[in-house]
Structures are given as structure tokens and as C-alpha cells.
């Protein structure tokens, strides 16, 4: 088998599995911070009990995030050694900065959150919750910088075939960093809050811990409502940015085969690359031009502008982009519904609402994974957009059979980890808030 393809599959497996956990961390640390703030202000025991419960879940999620994150960091050296040589001058820096400025912070203070409740003052415990929240978001910031630089590289020059840093600020705040950071953080908040709201809904349905799930539900839903609505705006600006900075990626997202003035927004279809045709297409005329350029007749570049070795595949980015948007729209509807239920005070009792909240737990994960697939596959054939091709980024000394072996091992280990993770999570949830944990 082809070593490039195997390495890509392995990276996709490793990153796709890792990406289950950090978004949960983002949302859950935010909810913990809110609850700790309420505890600091009111001193009411119930907040402490809830927070202890959430921190227990966070501890499990964080362990899996660390275990799977280390793999990714070293993947650039093991599987993408040419990538490391050719763009390491720029790409390594945000990873190192992530360690120094963010990952240390969240990991060290997570120890305080998990085991230090009786060893530090209330105020210091709150500070620890804040620092874990801050650290996990800063961590996301540096990782998004690294990935955004692959999408819209800036602040560099090519010297002797290598990308060399010329302007650190321009590399960090490249055209897509800020937009993609907001987009990903909101996605994390949606993921974490729907996860917790789903757990709370399960307690409410089973009439357990009456007061506590209501608090978890309320805080989670308020953050969710804000995030899901803001994500609509953030998703829009992200798409506009893609259309302007990576036109072939947008053309693939929309299966726009030819450059068009007044391009339609595609809602559904089955693009067939060999025929350059989209079957069963449903689209709204001129809407894509309007959304991107604020002008219904503006010209949007199609795939025909790009040579066969410079355009991305169409089917996978098209499908995943559309599923992501469908899910995002569903979240916006769910947000409006949740707001309505909260105001009417039926959110804690309505059976069908609680059942749908439980059903919604896995949906943000799907949206995250599909969003990530569309961003990464849509950038192909490039590893770094118009700088380095994926095929030229792979390690030259690692034979295919070794990658196949490690791919099989990772797949099996991750399957095992996921199974045990879900089983333990269910166990923690069944035991519920108030169950004692061992520790200091």
C-alpha cells in the first residue's frame, strides 16, 4: 500500500479520535468555572457537589485527551518528517508555545482541581478552576494557530526549499486564525454544554437528584443558546474567509464545477468528480455569491480554474461540509427551542425535550469531526496551502508496512479506549453527584 495514504489515514484516526476530547474539555471547564463562581459567591454546598461531579468527569476526559494528544505531537516527526524539515521553522514554534504557555497551566492546576479541594482556600480553588479554563482555551488557541498556518500560511519566505519565518505576528495572526479560533471554541462550548445538558436530562427523566440537574441544565443551556446562535455568525464568516483565501476549497464544498457569476448555494446533491456533475442537486440561485460577496451577481471561482493536481477531491469535502452545516442549523433551532423551554419553565419536565437533549449528546461530535474533515480534506493536495504538497511531506525512511502496523495498533487501542471510556462515563453518571472519590 501507499505510504502517503497510510500516513494520512493514521493521522486522521489519531486526530479524529483525539478531537473527541478537547472540545468536551473546553465546554466543561467553562461550566465548572461558572459553578465555582456561584459557589465562591454564595457558599452553597450544592454548587460544590455539582462541581466535584463535573471535575471527576473532566479528569477522565482529560486523561484521554493527554494520552491521544501526545501521539499527534510526535506524529509530525514519526510520519511527517519531510514536513518537519521543510516547515518546522514556523510550525514547531506554536506547538512549543502551547506547551510553555498553556498546557503546563491546565495540567498543573487540574491536579489542584482534582485533589486539592481541602488543601487550598476557596478563592485559590476558584483561581485553579479559572486557570484550567484559561489553559485549555489557550491550548486551543496555539493549536489553531498551527493548523491555520497550514490553511492560510503567512509571515514566511522560502529559502533553499524551506519555509523560514520572517514575521511572527503575521504567521500567528494569519488570515484564518482568529475566525477559526472563535469557530472552534464555540464548537467546544456547544459540545461540552450539550454533553452536560444530556446528562442532566437523564437525571431529570429518571427523577434523580432533583435540584442538581436543574442547575447543570440551566447553566449548560444558557451557554449553549449563546454559542449555537453565535456559531451561525461565526460559521458564516468562516465560510466567507475560505471563499476568499482558499477558493478551490469553497468550490469543492459547494461542488461548483465552473466559475460562475451569481453562483447558487447548494443544499443537497451527489457530486461525481469523473463527470464533473452534481446529481439530484437542490440549490438556491445566487445565494452563494450573495453570502460571500454581498452581491447576488458576484463571480465565484469554480474548480475549472485549477489544474488537476491542484484541486481538492470534491465528494468528501462536499458531504462533510453540508452535514456540518445541517447540524449547525439544527443546533440553532435547538437553541431557540431551549430558550423557549427555559422561559416557559418546562425545560426540566417536558419528557420529549429531555429525551431530545439526551439524543443530542453525540451530534456536536459529528459536527466537529465533519467540520474538521472538510477543512483538512478541502485543503488537499496541500499539507501547507500552496507551499508544500501532502505527498512531499511524508517521512521518506518509514516503510509502508510499519505505518500499516502502527495504524492497526492505534485503531485497536483507540477502539478499546473508547469502549472503556464510555463504560466508565456511564458508571460515573449512574453513581451521580455526591459519590465520594478517593484522593488526598
Amino acid at each position: 500500500m501507499d505510504v502517503v495514504l497510510l500516513s494520512r489515514i493514521q493521522f486522521a484516526v489519531a486526530a479524529g479520535f483525539h478531537f473527541i476530547f478537547p472540545p468536551l474539555t473546553l465546554g466543561i471547564t467553562l461550566v465548572i468555572l461558572v459553578i465555582e463562581t456561584l459557589f465562591l459567591k454564595s457558599g452553597e454546598e450544592i454548587y460544590k457537589t455539582i462541581s466535584a461531579f463535573l471535575i471527576k468527569i473532566l479528569g477522565l476526559i482529560f486523561a484521554l485527551g493527554v494520552a491521544t494528544g501526545i501521539v499527534l505531537e510526535f506524529s509530525f516527526g514519526t510520519n511527517w518528517a519531510q514536513y518537519s524539515r521543510l516547515v518546522g521553522d514556523i510550525f514547531g514554534a506554536p506547538l512549543a508555545a502551547e506547551g510553555i504557555l498553556a498546557f503546563f497551566l491546565e495540567s498543573v492546576f487540574l491536579g489542584v482541581l482534582l485533589f486539592g479541594r481541602n488543601r487550598v482556600s476557596r478563592r485559590m480553588y476558584w483561581v485553579s478552576a479559572f486557570l484550567v479554563f484559561l489553559g485549555s482555551h489557550l491550548s486551543g488557541f496555539w493549536i489553531i494557530i498551527a493548523n491555520s498556518w497550514m490553511q492560510t500560511p503567512a509571515g514566511f519566505a522560502i529559502e533553499g526549499g524551506r519555509a523560514v519565518l520572517t514575521d511572527f505576528n503575521a504567521a500567528v495572526f494569519n488570515p484564518s486564525t482568529v475566525i477559526r479560533f472563535l469557530h472552534t471554541m464555540l464548537a467546544g462550548w456547544i459540545t461540552g454544554t450539550l454533553f452536560l445538558a444530556g446528562i442532566a436530562a437523564w437525571y431529570l427523566l429518571n427523577k434523580r437528584h432533583e435540584a442538581m440537574p436543574k442547575i447543570i441544565m440551566k447553566i449548560s443551556l444558557i451557554i449553549f443558546i449563546f454559542s449555537a446562535l453565535a456559531q451561525f455568525a461565526s460559521g458564516h464568516s468562516s465560510s466567507v474567509q475560505v471563499a476568499k483565501t482558499q477558493p478551490e476549497k469553497m468550490a469543492a464544498f459547494e461542488a461548483l464545477w465552473k466559475t460562475t457569476e451569481g453562483a447558487p448555494l447548494s443544499l443537497f446533491g451527489i457530486p461525481v468528480e469523473s463527470e464533473r456533475k452534481t446529481y439530484l442537486e437542490v440549490s438556491i440561485p445566487k445565494l452563494l455569491s450573495l453570502l460571500v460577496h454581498f452581491d447576488p451577481n458576484a463571480k465565484i471561482m469554480g474548480l475549472d480554474e485549477f489544474g488537476p493536481d491542484e484541486r481538492p477531491p470534491v465528494l468528501l469535502p462536499f458531504m462533510s461540509y453540508h452535514v456540518m452545516i445541517a447540524l449547525g442549523s439544527l443546533f440553532a433551532l435547538l437553541a431557540v427551542l431551549s430558550a423557549f423551554m427555559l422561559i416557559r419553565q418546562t425545560a426540566y419536565a417536558s419528557k420529549w425535550f429531555l429525551v431530545s437533549m439526551i439524543a443530542a449528546i453525540s451530534l456536536p461530535h459529528l459536527a466537529n469531526e465533519f467540520g474538521w474533515i472538510s477543512a483538512e480534506v478541502g485543503r488537499q493536495p496541500w499539507a501547507v496551502y500552496r507551499v508544500l504538497k501532502t505527498a512531499d511531506a511524508v517521512s521518506v525512511v518509514v516503510p509502508a508496512w510499519q505505518v500499516l502496523f502502527s495504524l492497526i495498533m492505534f485503531s485497536m487501542i483507540y477502539l478499546l479506549l473508547f469502549t472503556v471510556f464510555v463504560a466508565i462515563l456511564l458508571k460515573i453518571v449512574k453513581k451521580g453527584p455526591g459519590a465520594k472519590a478517593g484522593g488526598y
Binding site: 486523561a63 518537519s84 498543573v108 491536579g111
Partner: protein, 334 residues
């Protein structure tokens, strides 16, 4: 000194410091994990050992993450050569670290399969403790390299006598960290066990050091002409002696400190032997990967140096602070 040379030298020292920090800190939890079967007889005692490392291991492992990323950022060619060249060995380390990271949590909650998860924890701690030294021994004694800086050997190239000797030395240094740490952080039955196996671990450390010395005479005698190597070795051996002295006097904190110093002495030997090389090439010194031919640009090294000089003192400050929060013996609250 030229600016670029100054920066390259600084980064050589900084990465050395990050990896030394990793060896000291994650060393004690890897060591404790590797020795778990000897330290704990039942679940309650295992929980004591786990509790002694639980608040810290996450933060400790970040030293590796940051050290690795700093190597990537500052010397991308060294990072690329070593990690792709030692592919299968590093995959084993990664599989082990994955299990190490999750198996304490899994052990705690998955009561039906505690035997499995504590075995995973032991293997996940033991394997990296051995393989780090093997990898280090390889880049010290030299690996076959092409002009393109690519590794030209295979998996078995890595298992030569010199790297294996360094692997054993690294393993026993880590075990010494683990056993002195557990003696310091626990009391009762677990502490007694740590004390009873201390002597053997302590003895194995010096045996591995003698073995490495012999291997050095045979395979890289030129490094013995460097006085810094001898000074570092003397520090390491003196600390090793004091480690025993303090341990038998019941001064467990100082004994742990001396184990750490012994490990730092070993790092001193590595640093003195390597400078200015990062990865030696077998048979042809002109193919060595050095801090001059493997480094990033001056600009990148500057930016990174600013980040490190501002960031690391803060990291060290709050790491100290959090260790102080959890000072004293482990207590179990049930």
C-alpha cells in the same frame, strides 16, 4: 559569539533543561509505576501509590510534550531524523504512554478488570523508562545517516550494546527516582516495601553505571577526554552515595533529592558528550547532525527564546507552588 551561535547554544541548553525536568519529574512517577508490583500488595496499597502521583503526572508529562515541541521548533532536522528513523521504537513508546495515561483512571473505576489495568500501568511505565535511554544511547554513539540526514539503519541497529547499556542506566536511574519518591511520600506498609527494595535498586544503578562506563571505553572512548564528563560523573556518584546515607538515616526527602541530583549528573554527562552534536553519524563525523546544521532560523530561535524566558520561570513557579500544596505524606480519604 555570533548571534545565531548564541541562540543555537541557548536552545541546546534549554532543550536539555526541559528534558532533564522531564526525567526528574516524570521519572519519579514512571519509576513508581514500574515498581508497582514490588511496592503494593493489594488494591488499597496500589491506591496509596496512585494517590502519591495522581495530582502531578499530568503536569510532569508536559515537560516531555514541551521538550519534544522545542526540539521540533529549534532543531527540526534532529526531530525529523530521530522520530522517523526510530519509528517502531517510538510507536512502542507511544502505545505505552497511552496506556500509562489512562490506566490509573481505568483501574480506579473499572473494578472488574483491575488486574489488567494495573498491568497496563506497569508496562506503560516500564517500557518508556527503558526505551528513552536506548534512544539516547543511539544518538550519542551514532546511527547510520545519509547525506540527506536520513537514518539508513533498521530496528535492530537500535539494539546495539552501547544503547542497551544506556537504556539500563536510564531505567535504573528512573527506578531510583521512583523508590525514593515513594519512600518520601508514603508511610506504613508501602513505605516499608519501598525501603526494603531500595538497596537493590540503589545497587543496580551503580552496576548499570559501571556497565555504561565499560561500554563507553569500548565504543566511544573519545568522550572520556572531556573533563566535564568526569565532573558530572563524580557529582552523580557522590549523590548516589549520599542517597543511601540519607535513606538509612530516615531522611527520605533528602534521599529523593540526591537521587534527582544523581540523575542530573547523568544528564550532565549526556550534555557534555553531545555538545555540539545532536545526533552522531556512524563512521563519518561530517554527517553528524549538530546544533549548527539542524537549527531553525535566527528569527524563530529569538521568538522562541523570548517565549521560553518569559514562560518557563512562571511555569516553574506555579509547579513549585502546586507541589507545596500537596506536600507531606499521602492520605487516603474514603
Amino acid at each position: 559569539m555570533e548571534t545565531l551561535t548564541f541562540l543555537q547554544t541557548s536552545w541546546f541548553a534549554l532543550i536539555g533543561a526541559l528534558l532533564a525536568g522531564y526525567a526528574l519529574l516524570d521519572g519519579f512517577d514512571l519509576g513508581a509505576g514500574s515498581l508497582l508490583p514490588f511496592l503494593a500488595a493489594d488494591d488499597e496499597e496500589k491506591l496509596v501509590v496512585f494517590n502519591s502521583i495522581w495530582p502531578f503526572w499530568d503536569g510532569n508529562e508536559v515537560w516531555l510534550v514541551t521538550g519534544g515541541a522545542a526540539l521540533f521548533a529549534a532543531f527540526p532536522h534532529a526531530y525529523a531524523t530521530v522520530f522517523s528513523g526510530f519509528y517502531l521504537a517510538f510507536m512502542l513508546v507511544l502505545f505505552a504512554l497511552i496506556f500509562r495515561a489512562v490506566s490509573m483512571e481505568f483501574w480506579y473505576y473499572d473494578e472488574k478488570r483491575r488486574g489488567l489495568w494495573s498491568a497496563a500501568f506497569v508496562a506503560g511505565s516500564l517500557l518508556p523508562s527503558l526505551l528513552y535511554g536506548v534512544a539516547l544511547g543511539n544518538v550519542m554513539v551514532g546511527i547510520p545517516l545519509a547525506e540527506s540526514m536520513e537514518f539508513t539503519g533498521n530496528f535492530f541497529t537500535l539494539l546495539r550494546p552501547y544503547p542497551l547499556a544506556i537504556g539500563l542506566l536510564g531505567l535504573f536511574a528512573i527506578l531510583l527516582q521512583g523508590v525514593t519518591y515513594i519512600a518520601m511520600k508514603t508511610d506504613g506498609a508501602v513505605q516499608n516495601r519501598a525501603r526494603s527494595i531500595f538497596g537493590r535498586v540503589w545497587g543496580l544503578f551503580i552496576a548499570a553505571m559501571a556497565l555504561s562506563f565499560a561500554a563507553t571505553i569500548v565504543y566511544m572512548p573519545e568522550s572520556l577526554s572531556n573533563p566535564l564528563v568526569w565532573i558530572s560523573a563524580a557529582v552523580s556518584i557522590a549523590a548516589w552515595l549520599l542517597c543511601r546515607l540519607f535513606a538509612s538515616g530516615g531522611k527520605t526527602g533528602l534521599s529523593f533529592a540526591m537521587s534527582s541530583l544523581a540523575l542530573l549528573g547523568l544528564w550532565g554527562i549526556v550534555g557534555a558528550t553531545q555538545f555540539p552534536n545532536l545526533v552522531r553519524a556512524t563512521g563519518n563525523a561530517s554527517l553528524n547532525i549538530t546544533l549548527y546544521n539542524a537549527s531553525s532560523s535566527e528569527k524563530t530561535l529569538w521568538v522562541m527564546l523570548y517565549i521560553a524566558l518569559i514562560g518557563m520561570p512562571i511555569v516553574i513557579f506555579y509547579t513549585f507552588y502546586v507541589y507545596r500544596i500537596f506536600r507531606g505524606k499521602v492520605m487516603i480519604t474514603k
